[in-house]
């Protein structure tokens, strides 16, 4: 069963509604003791990365999250929290991945936020992307991105530059897009995560 880490950053109605529709059981993690009740975890997140990190620190759950050894998936800002640092709020983050979250540069031809459906290309074999064709579209909405790093990038997307659409290291996963809003392929990804 999936434990969703609650720390007050953003709304999770769409995520829980999607898990219910897919028949994936879940519960909420509010305290350290709750971690034992679940065999995998989701860190949700919408909004400002620096503010989200402050809220997460205030829960007191940070040491327990850093020590997790079961599958853990960060979504959107929840993914960015797994990195070492974000330019959004000049914030030090969980540092589970030694990569940075950067702001999209201003350019003439690309609008920010990066909003809409873009193609995602898995670069490694991993059960998270099982049955998802290369180049499938996922729904993104973000102004900050995680830099591309061949060591940690699990799938990539191109917008202004090539960046990490998802990252993977040991039991930790992150996706920049919103699987709960990404049609059938997003649903497949969540089902895959529930079985990793």
């Amino acid at each position: 069963m999936i434990g969703i880490i609650r720390y007050g950053a953003g709304n999770i109605f769409s995520l829980t509604a999607t898990l219910e529709r897919l028949g994936i059981p879940y519960g909420m993690i509010n305290t350290e003791a709750d971690f034992e009740l679940y065999d995998r975890y989701i860190i949700p997140g919408v909004g400002h990365a620096g503010a989200a990190m402050d809220k997460l620190v205030n829960t007191g759950l940070v040491p327990a999250i850093k020590a997790l050894n079961k599958p853990t998936l960060g979504i959107c800002v929840g993914m960015q929290l797994l990195t070492s640092y974000s330019e959004e709020g000049n914030a030090d983050l969980l540092d589970l991945f030694p990569v940075k979250t950067l702001k999209f540069p201003q350019t003439a031809n690309f609008k920010v936020p990066h909003t809409g459906w873009n193609q995602v290309f898995a670069e490694k074999e991993n059960p998270l992307f099982k049955s998802i064709p290369l180049g499938s579209h996922f729904y993104f909405v973000h102004s900050y991105f995680i830099e591309y790093d061949p060591l940690y990038t699990l799938s990539s997307t191109s917008y202004i530059n090539k960046f990490s659409a998802s990252i993977w290291h040991d039991n930790f996963y992150g996706v920049q897009f919103h699987p709960e809003k990404s049609g059938i392929h997003g649903e497949t990804l969540l089902k895959n995560f529930s079985k990793i």
Partner: protein
Amino acid sequence: MLAKRIIPCLDVKNGRTVKGVNFVDLRDAGDPVELAWNYSQQGADELVFLDITATVEKRKTLVELVKSVARQINIPFTIGGGINEIADADALLNAGADKISINSAAVRNPALIDELAKTFGVQFVIVAVDTRVMGDKNIVHLNGGRLPTEKQTLDWIKEAESRGAGEILLTSMDHDGTKVGFDNGLLKKVNDAVNIPVIASGGAGSVQHFVDVFKHTNVDAALAASVFHYGEILIPDLKGILKQNNIEVRI
């Protein structure tokens, strides 16, 4: 590549879908949740619900509708209509809405854009602009295009962007309901002038109109209602033809 988005718009009154021709005569076009599900299966990229209910029970009815949509739909959706304060937006966000769209409230109180963007992030805030040509100028209109303001359309859109709009939904009231095609001249001007996504609205009557708006203006998305509701254009056919015209779409 980032795909161009196709967005069906559902006008909702008292929990039912309606669509007016030139926003005046309303016709019932079905149950919004069922329509929404249908569109998501057809390949719509996103949905917009515009609530035109005027009763005091409005917010409660709308929040229930938003929850039903969020439970059953796996694509993003926007809610517009009667959002005047942070609490309205907060209730919709918590019910599962991905974005909210504000129109008259933003014109009357531009600081609302700043407040919403600061509270929820720019990605949550669409500023909808209804425009109509008066003399040789494009003028922002309120009340479904009936009430002219003193604002020039391009100036207002730039102001909205600087205040924190994450996206612009631009409806030409001269084209809306006419099926003569989008207002490509104005849309190109606006799209070139801002650095946030622009959704074109008003005038879609044929598949070629969608090809034209993407080719000629490079807007990010195109929105329509009646051509989808009455089955005159089927989204899979539309996307197939866009792709043949080398326009990036999600199929």
